[in-house]
């Protein structure tokens, strides 16, 4: 089987990839918005390639993370369809029958009503004194827990914006709140500071969305700096995160891929989640769109595993083709 055609479609903040093959099977992928040179490299690598050579494509696209991710998803999607099996069945089989979901907090009551049980809370911007900032954050979270009940969990997301000592202050104050974890509390670039933060208190730390290449991962573990590995599904794709999860596993570290993309990226992340023994929770946004349908609805905080072949979704090609092509 050979890839005969490749189209990349530009959506706001994301790129959707479609590959076609001489078998007639199509595969889909999604990545962060692609630079023109990465798209060109992607075409050069993918055209004429056999979709089963997804590791070879991964190596050839190492310098173009997004392109690598999208091609990886699309190749695995085709392979799954050829085998009439979900991608997780190609990767060593399901390790679980459902996937715990994490969603950005928008409307707590409505979201709980829709079966969501774990939320990403963005850290509110600091106002006033340091003392008030810490107290206000704790108060905001405590109120959320009161409203949601004990069976609901939270991730606090600081988007890497705090100075390390500010992050330490806040995470120490949050120890007994039992966040699932504190996400990107400070810039990861200052690994020495992250290492210190990781030793000051016991609030678990999540990092990874800023990492673009596998070589950025080992130092996080060598320094025992993180508790949750959060590589972006739209920068790494399925098989690269699966491989880096193996490294995490040897450090007894959980994997919860970062994902602020659309339903194709979420579908890929769900396939990945099913395959990893050290997976804990998957961040997802909207699970369907005018282009994509077919992901199972969440129930009590979990998504049952999709069982359809490949990514397990249905793509509306005519709606897709109405989008502008990326160039």
């Amino acid at each position: 089987m050979k890839i005969t055609k490749l189209n990349a479609f530009a959506l706001p903040d994301t790129t959707v990839l479609r590959i076609e093959t001489d078998s007639g099977l199509r595969g889909y992928g999604e990545c962060r918005t692609l630079a023109a040179k990465d798209l060109a490299l992607m075409k050069q690598v993918a055209m004429g390639a056999d979709p089963s050579a997804y590791e070879i494509a991964r190596a050839k696209l190492a310098e173009a993370p997004g392109a690598q991710a999208a091609v990886n998803m699309a190749m695995l999607d085709v392979l799954g369809k050829q085998a009439k099996a979900p991608i997780y069945s190609l990767l060593g089989g399901a390790t679980r029958n459902k996937v715990r979901l994490l969603t950005p907090l928008t409307d707590l009551a409505a979201q709980i009503g829709a079966g969501e049980r774990a939320f990403v809370v963005p850290l509110a911007a600091a106002k006033g004194s340091r003392l008030n900032f810490v107290a206000n954050t704790l108060e905001q979270l405590t109120k959320l827990r009161e409203q949601a009940g004990e069976g609901v969990d939270f991730v606090l997301d600081a988007q890497g914006k705090l100075v390390p000592a500010e992050a330490g202050n806040l995470s120490a104050a949050l120890e007994k709140f039992h966040l699932l974890w504190f996400d990107e509390p400070c810039p990861l670039g200052n690994l020495a500071a992250v290492r210190k933060l990781a030793r000051e208190n016991v609030t678990p730390l999540g990092f990874g969305r800023t990492i673009t290449k596998p070589s950025g991962v080992p130092d996080l573990f060598r320094e025992q700096a993180i508790d949750v590995l959060r590589l972006d599904i739209r920068l790494h794709g399925i098989s690269q995160i699966r491989r880096l999860a193996v490294v995490a596993e040897t450090y007894y570290t959980a994997v919860a891929p970062y994902n602020d993309g659309g339903p194709i990226a979420s579908a890929a992340a769900i396939q990945l989640a099913a395959s990893m023994p050290n997976f804990v929770i998957q961040q997802v946004g909207a699970l369907s769109s005018p282009i994509v349908s077919g992901l199972p609805a969440p129930r009590d905080g979990f998504m049952p595993l999709p069982t359809a072949p490949g990514l397990g979704i249905t793509v509306n090609d005519s709606a897709l083709e109405r989008l502008q092509e990326a160039v």
């Binding site: 679980r96 459902k98 004990e150 069976g151 120890e175 030793r199 678990p204 007894y252 570290t253 959980a254």
Partner: protein, 426 residues
């Protein structure tokens, strides 16, 4: 016991038994003739003992027979792998038949080094069973209990022990407290409920902390409490629990995370003042070195039935002592290994407390042990396991005792799963 000639033997190259052809001897045995005893190992037997139909740990006992009638008993029970250990003991027969049983360190080295691949739990348990039996023989030939050969006992009244708490409600815990006080027991051990993912929910963490707080409240302030996490928690989850229960002043938290990654365990140890204990899954003293060196562990818990017998457990104590680390050996299998452990404990300056996986009230298993050995083995008196006084490991055992419990094969350990069907540790 009759006097025997140990050093300066006949230098036999083959040992003639009555009416039998000269015995084959292990490779290299001749080199040590003249520096050992004239006693020779004539047979190595294994016994699989299924004392409970579904137990994951049918006992694996090793009996070593010698040409002067002295026999030694050892234990290599390995949970979920009974057949494999018995096969491994059989693989070592040619290291032993015709050998001098007094050369215990030499045989340990030969079994370990000449196996080339470093010992895992199966080989470690096989060596453990053989090593204990050799020490039993050694003590009997020298007319001394093993703890005296090791330089003890530090306390003639015995070694401090702990029982397991199998209580969930406050009433059950108060009952344990009363029974422990009545028996003079000064320490008990419990666990945490359920199974844990590598990042856990507020509800799960809160429930675990509440359980431990209830345990302290129910058992009262006057008893030491160890808590076994059983390596079912990740460093992330264990760190939260270990820190939050600091006010309970636990004697230790055991296996807060799996044992292979020492740096991961160090990160837990760095963030709490609760002492960290680990080691029951480790084989040979070599495997404990990094834990000591990196300042991770306060208490080592290697198991005499897996670590490599008396020789290896004693070495773990030696390794730990100059670093101020205590030993509190794991013992959750049969009575032979448990009694062998007591000998090492009694002679260890850095001994803390000895486990036995029994409750404050003896069950039918402990009664069965008494039936086999003729005394209430591993039952405390005034909070201590009494020391055997007879030579060797200190008991007489007739293999006919096991006829009632024929081996019914290996039984797997518990297999548990999270709510999404994924594999959980217990």
């Amino acid at each position: 016991m009759k006097r025997r000639n140990f050093v300066g033997g006949a230098g036999l190259t083959g040992l003639a038994l009555q009416g039998q052809a000269p015995m084959t001897r292990p490779l290299g045995a001749e080199a040590l003739d003249g520096v050992g005893s004239k006693t020779r190992i004539t047979n190595v037997k294994t016994f699989g003992v299924t004392y409970e139909n579904n137990s994951d740990r049918p006992y694996v006992f090793v009996k070593i027979e010698t040409n002067d009638g002295v026999v030694g008993w050892g234990e290599g029970t390995l949970e979920g792998k009974a057949n494999a250990v018995m096969a491994c003991v059989a693989d070592f027969k040619e290291f032993l038949i015709g050998a001098d049983p007094m050369l215990v360190e030499h045989h340990w080295q030969s079994m370990y080094v000449h196996s080339f691949y470093r010992a895992g739990p199966v080989m470690g348990s096989a060596i453990s069973g053989i090593d204990q039996a050799l020490w039993d023989i050694r003590g009997k030939l020298l007319g001394q209990p093993v703890y005296k050969l090791l330089g003890g006992p530090f306390d003639p009244a015995g070694v401090r022990g702990y029982y397991h708490v199998r209580a969930n409600t406050m009433d059950e815990m108060r009952a344990v407290r009363e029974k422990a006080a009545e028996l003079g027991v000064t320490c008990v051990k419990g666990g945490i409920p359920g199974y844990y993912e590598w990042i856990e929910t507020h509800a799960k963490i809160k429930a675990a902390i509440k359980h431990l707080e209830n345990m302290r409240a129910g058992l009262g302030p006057d008893i030491d409490i160890g808590i076994d996490f059983h390596a079912k928690t990740s460093p992330a989850v264990a760190s939260i629990l270990c820190k939050e229960v600091e006010p309970l002043k636990l004697l230790f938290i055991e296996e807060p995370c799996p044992p292979e990654n020492v740096a991961a365990m160090k990160k837990i140890a760095e963030r709490c003042t609760t002492p960290i204990a680990t080691g029951e899954r480790l084989i040979a003293a070599y495997s404990c070195r990094e834990l000591v060196e990196m300042g991770v562990v306060d208490i080592l818990q290697t198991d005499i039935n897996h670590v490599g017998g008396i020789t290896a457990l004693w070495k773990v104590a030696c390794l730990a002592e100059p670093s101020g680390i205590k030993i509190a050996p794991h013992a959750c299998e049969g009575p032979i290994g448990a009694l062998a452990t007591v000998h090492v404990d009694a002679a260890a300056p850095n001994f803390l407390v000895q486990e036995i996986c029994s409750g404050v009230v003896a069950s039918k298993i402990e009664k069965m042990w008494e039936e086999w050995l003729g005394f209430p083995a591993m039952r405390m008196v005034n909070g201590k396991f009494p020391l055997p006084t007879k030579p060797g490991l200190g008991f007489d055992l007739n293999e006919s005792a096991f006829a009632k419990y024929p081996f019914a094969g290996t039984k797997p350990m518990a297999r548990v799963f999270h709510q999404d069907g994924s594999v959980a540790a217990w």
